[in-house]
Subunit: 465 residues, 2 copies
Amino acid sequence: MTRIALLAIAAAIASPAAAQTLPAGLVTPVADDVAALRDAALKDDIAWDIVEGLTTEIGPRLAGTEAEARARAWGAAKLKALGFQNVRIETYQMPVWVRGEERAEVISPFPQPLRLTALGNSGATPAAGLTAPIAYFPTFGDLARAPDGSLKGKIAFVSHAMEPTQDGSSYGAYGVARFVGPAVAAKKGAAAIVIRSIGTDRGRGPHAGVTNFPDGVAPIPAAALSVADAENLERMVKRGKPVTLKLVLTPRQTGTHESGNVIAEVPGSDPDAGIVLVGGHLDSWDLGTGAIDDASGVAITAAAAKRIMAAGQPRRTIRVVWFGAEEVGGFGGEAYAKAHGDERHAAAAESDFGADRIWRFETNLPGSATAVGDRLQAALAPLGIVRGTGIAGDGADVGPMMAKGVAAIDLNQSGLRYFDWHHTPEDTLDRVDPEQLRQNVAAWTTMLAVVANAPEEIGAVTPRK
Amino acid sequence: MTRIALLAIAAAIASPAAAQTLPAGLVTPVADDVAALRDAALKDDIAWDIVEGLTTEIGPRLAGTEAEARARAWGAAKLKALGFQNVRIETYQMPVWVRGEERAEVISPFPQPLRLTALGNSGATPAAGLTAPIAYFPTFGDLARAPDGSLKGKIAFVSHAMEPTQDGSSYGAYGVARFVGPAVAAKKGAAAIVIRSIGTDRGRGPHAGVTNFPDGVAPIPAAALSVADAENLERMVKRGKPVTLKLVLTPRQTGTHESGNVIAEVPGSDPDAGIVLVGGHLDSWDLGTGAIDDASGVAITAAAAKRIMAAGQPRRTIRVVWFGAEEVGGFGGEAYAKAHGDERHAAAAESDFGADRIWRFETNLPGSATAVGDRLQAALAPLGIVRGTGIAGDGADVGPMMAKGVAAIDLNQSGLRYFDWHHTPEDTLDRVDPEQLRQNVAAWTTMLAVVANAPEEIGAVTPRK
């Protein structure tokens, strides 16, 4: 809540007409059935069962690989076993990049190995490696301001100072070093680029992730050093002597392969009321087992939908989608929108930020559904969840549907630990706290109970920019 | 302090003759010069400079490799620059085992890669790998009780339940799975063995470390899975289906190579009073940069000795030894005892347990030096350090001297975090807390100020068993 909203409440309480001027969400009653579903979900075991199963029985599942195909089969079987209707796999084709050998070492002045991982879409070094001096940039801005041609024959090394933020906003602010740093370095003539991992840990596990080279810019070798290795390299740079690195990175593009979305439904009683679309992504990066990113999201949304299904038929159809190929470019979300964009959707929501406690929710609902937002505020408050003042619209996979004007609901997990392990080998089951996972299921169950059964019309909205 | 000792104090305080019956260390005054040295050391920067330098400018330094040789040259230069006397390198020859390729994957029922590292002295699989079913043992005891011959054609998988202990005692209790588990499995006919890392973390970094095969037992491939991978494998085992692993481990013995100890001195005024021997080990495992194990120990002991030197000549010579080849079998400590065993040593103390806060000290002093122990108790108390009731004698490197009857002093760091990172890729500078490192330097400075200047005779003791 903003300071201004807080002052408004304080003023309202002090006035004789307090009851009328308080925000409606603070005084809206919570329906007994919603409260009962919410509280029962705090004992949920369904989500843990899915996260544990997917990480143990499948493990890493890079988009477009046979591991992702096994994950789809596993997911369809699991969703059927849970009793969902219309369970199916919808496939599509996509380009697939795969990791090769990856090694780095300081050649001089202080020879020692460094730990890194190639960024998705990275180019390759010669098989025997590439040896070159580094050009150090403390921030992305420093790289962006380097003169054209000044990096010829050099390995750009870009650092940054990412710190944890509850809303995850530091990912966007510092992630630019990964998202576009390699393209910028390539345009300036760099032979390769290494970045400090986009992460908030101090460990040895490098953070993977895609980067993109626009048409006409030939990909250069691009990799993320672990944070500990990047800090070590920075200390070397600060000794003042030239630093030479050797990189061996042999990833490659393997052409077009099959990926797919796994879809399951809780059919609603009123087909005209529109679908409530929820889900997360089934693919993961290849270094960890994808527990927080995003076995948790598929698990939380399926568990919540299952709990609504068990309580009786909802008004609206709830469609659970376990999207494919999110990490490498959102191919699953695009394929879904292409296949289902003409169906009437009432609202969309995605869980793709781990499983730590949900601390905030935001909405983008039409005026006809203002009361839905107020009921959400009241029903979520006992879980420690505040109403934010922003406009909802998170989610790479449901983004293409939101762009078409589908109403949006965001349930925001805390990001304070998320980037310690995001895209690293450390994204494993151990990082999921069962109690916080249950709070997530309770919040999603509450949201679905309110939204899927809302008697109000939920029509199109203006999407968040 | 034991409960009995506590009751004794309580009883003493209640009695009219309280002053006479309180433990002497509680009421012994602290000399002003000792207190001043102790308190000044809480602002020490020397130790950090050494840890930062060794991890940045050398990095990993496996015993017997050229990296360890560079570390010796670096160490000798650093100790000379600090003003120590008689700085020299004393070399010796030792057998050197080096890591090769190391990969593992579950073949069935749930194909996915696992992270592991070969144990020192491990045998090798064929270059193409070894594929076999696993035989699961929840504890070392379960392995030890398996019938002879029952492991033929199998990969033994030994788990355990190590938890952190402040005194580090869980390392001995659970470490047996690494120390002798491979030999036990080999004797029972196992094709290979993987153990859950001897560690208290839940991460993906496997914990290296030596194992030993007695004469007549052919080494088998032996590796430690990361804790997260071991837990994943245990979950697979608990599904009830047979689990088949493929291991590729190609380490090898490379013959005899040179290693060495780096020695430096603060000459004392009384050559007959005996040497005070302090130090840590310069070599490290190869996966991390050896910050807590044991750049910290060489740094703490050298910084403390330097502070005593700067305060004026001590009575006893302080000899600082940065031992080589501790990790792989204590070759440096043995070489030292062989070369210097006949010189008179008054006391020995080693720092090889990271750099977290020292919480306890213990001694093994002769009766003539009882008052030295009491003065230590009084002088260390303001640093939050208690006097333990055990007999001192820690330290693989000074162990051979203690075995000859040299008096011992142990300054015990807290082990509550140590085994999260011990022997893993995560043993990097980030794990050293500068404030806790300073508390270590203060404790060691205090110890040296008391012991090196003690007017009492410090002669031989009965070594701890």
